[in-house]
């Protein structure tokens, strides 16, 4: 169970007090009614959902009730930081990214070993 630092309460609290709220930094278009199908698809359906560093939203639902953002490594489950809603997407330093890396070496598979995808995502994935 994770420990989550609420940037409003300025407290580290157990995950039980929080609810996840999906990917962060997806702004609702100001001209919502007029966007194209492609723009709507990107806004509503498409998510990074990547393995590794994720920017995500949480709500301290059984606490102060505030929504906030977090940067977490989805493999090691370690947080780099949490910050208030509306704050800019932080630029991560190399040291910060390194601090939440999962163990990279070690031989046997006591968890499934995933190999990196071979496609680059530019046209050849279809």
């Amino acid at each position: 169970m994770l420990l989550v630092h609420c940037p409003y309460c300025e407290e580290e609290r157990p995950e039980l007090e929080f609810a996840g709220a999906g990917e962060a930094h997806i702004a609702r278009p100001a001209n919502m009614a007029d966007i194209s199908d492609e723009e709507f698809e990107k806004f509503f359906f498409i998510r990074e959902n990547q393995k590794g560093i994720v920017f995500e939203r949480w709500r301290h639902i059984h606490g102060c009730g505030r929504f906030f953002n977090a940067v977490r490594n989805s493999v090691s489950d370690k947080f780099i930081k949490t910050y208030k809603a509306g704050e800019k997407k932080p630029k991560l330093t190399k040291a910060e990214i390194a601090s939440v890396l999962p163990p990279a070496k070690g031989t046997p598979a006591n968890e499934p070993i995933h190999t990196a995808p071979t496609t680059t995502g530019k046209g050849d994935a279809k």
Binding site: R28, M32, A33, F67, D77, P103, K105, P108, A109, N110
Partner: protein, 1003 residues
């Protein structure tokens, strides 16, 4: 020879062990009365009484004895009871302490332990290879249900589950600490002693009743010149009284989770003869530690050779523990078979205690000269570079056959006990659970912690540090480091001077001589699931090349002991058969729990009435007194219907509907979700959240609102009243209240934080009393002050604030029945009083209380939808024919863009319609599929399904709603609902069945 203590078993060795001979307890094993010493485990007590045979194996029903002296035990699983309700199967005899009056029974045998008919499986063993079930019960197909499955089910499982409810209670506790130390052996104690000095919060846990770990059975080591027992006692005494230290005995750390959360289970009363009923049986701890020190030690492996499972064959470390800790010898003429130095110490201890050692067989060619010298001095018969290739004895071993490792020539040696050691497997279970990665130590045949993910560190034997001097230094250093990392100032504690420590060098993993690929013998790897070396080879030969597949196909390591002794052997044999190195084959995953945990401990108080929250409305007592039948709606208890004498549900609901439509009904609507939206930007916010336009809604007026998600599908609905320019009283569905508030907060906090709006959940502040029907006004009018209830002043869909029965009210004129109606909101604490006052007025006028079922019928008669019943997350306002609630001129609301998506504006969408059965008395089943042509060959195209269906007493026929492809354009069409025994024809119609002109609400 030994002198015995007759009171507590003939195999007690006077002067040995840590138990007091003065304290005896009585227990039964298979109904035979026996005596033990206080502090005995069931295993040591049975051995003291000369009993090795304690069970039958799972598959072959082979006689099995006690194999170990610890939590890794795969064989000695016993049914333990204190009374008829307190009975537990599959308890490990090696960890269960004996208490006075305990009843123990062997398992998996019929009719008796020494004669078991299931043992025929052993003779037929060649017909039960790995994957036997998969290969055998394939055909004929029909035989599966009636023949194979019942037989397999009867044969499956060890022990019998208790039949009575568990009368004990269990506790749950959360704890935080700076350093959690798991394992109270030499390394764990040293770490605790060091960490404790710093003043930081320290928790030390050990699964045994006493701290000390392997020290408890070590008679030779000296620490600062003291015996292991003295040093342990002193160390505990030094730290136990400290306020910053918590010591937990009989406590197993069974799970290691993210961010250093470790779950512990503490056995509180399991060893007590008459536990205080106020004590929990077990206590679950969820500990959040800044730093964790893993000092979990190592587990000895057996050796894999022919017939290595006879009763009387044990681990060497177990023999040593029974002698030195419990004062019990497992035999009187003992053979030793080892690949590891540690078994030599066992042989020496036994010999010194006066027990005959028939031979010390070591499969290694090179032996430490010091060990050889001591063996010679004690007069032991040493057979190095030899192997045991078979054993004999049906219910107890009586001889072993020894052969040279590289040669011929068999020697049969009579024995009554065989102690074996294949070396030690570091306990990396918790480390691996913490997602640390292990690396293979080729030189010592073991996996060791390599890369850490969590804030933890392994010390001592679990880290591969076998020399006690090094383990103690490592533990002290780790504790200092942990204190520093936890923000404390470490204080140095000098580790004790170590003398005469025994060695753990030497190992053998995989099959020993005589159990190779060409030997047709049963050499067991996994005792609990009866997996042999041959089974592993067969699985690999048959194409199972991943160790995870080998595990599942042979079931090795899948029993309740999770292969603590067997995994390395299975892995080594699989690797050998595959022709690969062990690291290439890899380990199977370590999962929580480390040892079995009772459901009681996991559930704790969350059972029965405390399983979940029960929400009751302020008027609950009244409806209960009226004999209401309740239905669960989320956590709410809602009155479902109010049966009168002799009425079934159908009769009660029909009467409630009819009475409400003809006179009046009173309904408890308190569970409705209610949110107050307040602030200068409230109307702007309402415009965003709901499809409707709100600018022109006057103060004192109400409107039915529809809320969508961004994708355009209906999310919730409800009536909204405007109390003032800047204040809206929003109602939501009963189940939707939390998610609606969450969605509102989300938009307000993250998209429009600059808007001045405040949201408050007021669901539980207001009790809501619905009074509906032609006499509704007449009933409530005399009770209301300050509000003109006349049809002209308070028109349909209005709200006014005033008083009722002297209590403040927000009084809504609205209707979910199609009749003239009011929903009277009063502060929750006055709910029942106001309800009773209204009832007193209404009852003489013919009013009835009605429940949720009648509410459903009446709203369906009017074609009012229920979100979640008539919609399912793929229904738009257009589909549900409530698109009139969309503000056509609005430039934005949640869902505005989603509604324009090509699929949502396409022709032929599934749309909500009414359904009228051709035979008026047939009531359709909700959820039933709808087709156009019931005679169409299978598969029949499905055009929709029934969402709501009831008998309408007021109309004299059944009514239904459903969603049908292109339904709005198919009015008057006939569709069919095929059921099990009939096909029902129905006509598509307008869903407003009752009072389609809608005049009655304005009465």
């Amino acid at each position: 020879m030994s002198t015995s203590t007759p009171n507590a078993g003939s195999n007690r060795i006077a002067g040995h062990g840590r138990l007091s001979p003065a304290k005896t307890v009585t227990f039964t094993f298979d109904d035979k009365v026996m005596t033990a010493l206080e502090g005995d485990t069931l295993a040591s007590a049975l051995l003291a009484n000369g009993i090795h045979l304690v069970g039958r194996s799972f598959k072959y029903h082979r006689p099995r004895g006690i194999l170990s002296a610890g939590p890794e035990e795969p064989n000695a699983l016993i049914d333990i009871s204190r009374d008829s309700a307190r009975r537990q199967p599959n308890v490990r005899a090696t960890v269960q302490q004996v208490f006075d009056g305990m009843r123990a029974k062997s398992q998996n045998r019929y009719p008796s332990l020494s004669f078991d008919v299931g043992a025929a499986n052993d003779v037929l063993g060649r017909f039960f290879p790995a994957g036997f079930y998969y290969k055998t019960f394939m055909w004929p197909k029909q035989a599966w249900d009636k023949l194979y499955e019942p037989i397999i089910r009867r044969a499956a499982g060890l022990g019998n589950a208790p039949e009575e409810a568990d009368p004990d209670h269990y506790a749950n506790r959360f704890a935080h600490c700076d350093v959690l130390i798991i394992g109270g052996g030499a390394a764990g104690l040293m770490a605790a002693r060091t960490a404790a000095k710093s003043g930081k919060r320290v928790i030390l846990v050990d699964e045994n009743p006493d701290f000390g770990g392997a020290l408890l059975s070590d008679n030779t080591v000296r620490l600062d010149g003291k015996s292991a027992d003295e040093w342990t006692t002193e160390t505990i005494a030094e730290i136990e009284h400290l306020d910053n230290v918590t010591l937990l005995r009989r406590t197993t750390a069974f799970g290691y989770y993210s961010h250093n959360m470790v779950s512990l289970v503490e056995q509180v009363t399991e060893h007590m003869a008459q536990p205080d009923p106020d004590l929990p049986r077990e206590r679950m701890w969820q500990v959040r530690a800044k730093q964790v020190i893993l000092a979990t030690g190592a587990i000895e492996r057996h050796l894999v050779f022919a017939d290595n499972d006879r009763p009387g064959i044990m681990l060497a470390s177990a023999g040593q523990a029974y002698l030195n800790n419990y004062g019990v010898t497992p035999g009187h003429n003992i053979g030793i078979y080892t690949a590891c130095d540690s078994a030599w110490a066992t042989a020496f201890d036994l010999k010194k205690a006066g027990i005959a050692i028939a031979a010390l067989v070591d499969c290694r060619a090179e032996i430490d000269p010091a060990l050889l010298a001591e063996a010679e001095a004690l007069g032991l018969r040493v057979m190095k570079n030899h192997a045991i290739t078979s054993t004999a004895g049906r219910l107890r071993i009586n001889s072993m056959t020894v052969e040279p490792v590289n040669g011929e020539g068999k020697t049969d040696i009579p024995i009554d006990c065989l102690l074996m050691s294949g070396g030690w497997t570091p306990s990396v279970h918790l480390f691996s659970q913490s997602r640390g990665r292990v690396a293979f130590d080729e030189a010592n045949g073991r996996f060791l912690p390599d890369v850490y993910t969590e804030d933890c560190i392994s010390v001592g034997a679990c880290n591969g540090t076998n020399e006690m001097v090094e383990a103690l230094a490592e533990a002290a250093a780790a504790a200092e480091e942990a204190i520093k990392s936890a923000g404390g100032k470490p204080k140095k504690v000098k580790p004790p001077r170590v003398e005469h420590a025994s060695s753990m060098n030497g190992f053998l993993i995989g099959a020993a001589k005589g159990a190779g690929p060409d030997d047709f013998v049963k050499a067991f790897i996994d005792f609990q699931n009866d997996v042999t070396a041959k089974d592993i080879r067969l699985a690999v030969t048959e194409g199972f090349h991943s160790i995870e597949h080998v595990k599942r196909y042979t079931t090795t390591g899948m029993a309740t002991d999770q292969g603590k002794m067997s995994n390395m052997h299975g892995l080594a044999i699989a690797a050998q058969t595959l022709g690969k190195e062990i690291p290439e084959v890899g380990l199977t995953t370590f999962r929580a729990p480390y040892t079995p945990v009772t459901f009681g401990a996991l559930v704790a108080h969350s059972k029965g009435d405390l399983f979940d929250v029960t929400r009751r409305t302020p008027m609950h007592d009244w409806s209960e007194a009226q004999g209401a039948v309740y239905e669960d709606v989320g956590n709410w208890k809602r009155a479902w219907y109010f049966p009168q004498a002799g009425e079934d549900m159908h009769a009660a609901v029909s009467r409630e509907c009819k009475t409400t439509r003809e006179a009046a009904g009173i309904f408890d609507a308190s569970t409705l979700g209610k949110i107050e939206v307040v602030g200068p930007d409230a109307v702007k916010f309402m415009n965003l959240m709901y499809t409707n336009p709100w600018d022109k809604l006057g103060v004192g007026r109400c409107r039915y609102g529809i809320m969508c998600r961004e994708d355009g599908f209906i999310y919730d609905d409800g009536v909204v009243g405007r109390l003032s320019e800047d204040r809206f009283h929003v109602t939501t569905t009963t189940g939707g209240a939390p998610r609606v508030l969450n969605m509102m907060e989300d938009y307000l906090q993250t998209e429009f934080p600059e808007w001045k709006v405040w949201l408050t959940s007021i669901s539980e502040q207001w009790a809501v009393i619905g009074v509906q029907g032609p006499k509704a006004r007449e009933i409530i009018e005399p009770l209301v002050e300050g509000i003109d209830l006349s049809n002209e002043a308070l028109t349909h869909m209005s709200v006014a604030e005033g008083k009722i029965c002297g209590v403040p009210t927000r009084l809504f004129r609205m209707s979910f029945t199609g009749e003239t109606g009011f929903e009277i909101n009063v502060p929750a604490d006055y709910g029942q009083a106001v309800w009773e006052a209204i009832w007193e007025r209404g009852e003489p006028l013919g009013m009835t209380p009605y429940g949720t079922e009648a509410m459903h019928v009446m709203r369906a008669e009017k074609g009012y939808i229920i979100v979640g019943q008539d919609t399912d997350g793929t229904v738009t306002p257009h589909d549900a024919a409530v698109d009139w609630a969309i503000g056509k001129k609005k430039t934005d609301f949640v869902g505005i863009r989603g509604l324009k998506r090509p699929d949502l504006v396409a022709e032929g969408r599934r749309q909500l319609v009414g359904l009228k059965t051709k035979q008026a008395e047939i009531v359709l089943e909700e959820g039933a599929q709808i087709v156009d042509d019931p005679n169409h060959p299978v598969p029949v195209p499905m055009v929709g399904f029934v969402t709501s269906s009831y008998w309408s007493e007021s109309l004299g026929h059944s009514i239904a709603m459903g969603v049908i492809d292109g339904g709005h354009g198919r009015m008057g069409d006939t569709v069919y609902i095929p059921m099990e025994n009939e096909v029902i024809a129905a006509e598509i119609c307008n869903p407003v069945f009752y009072d389609p002109e809608g005049g009655r609400v304005n009465g």
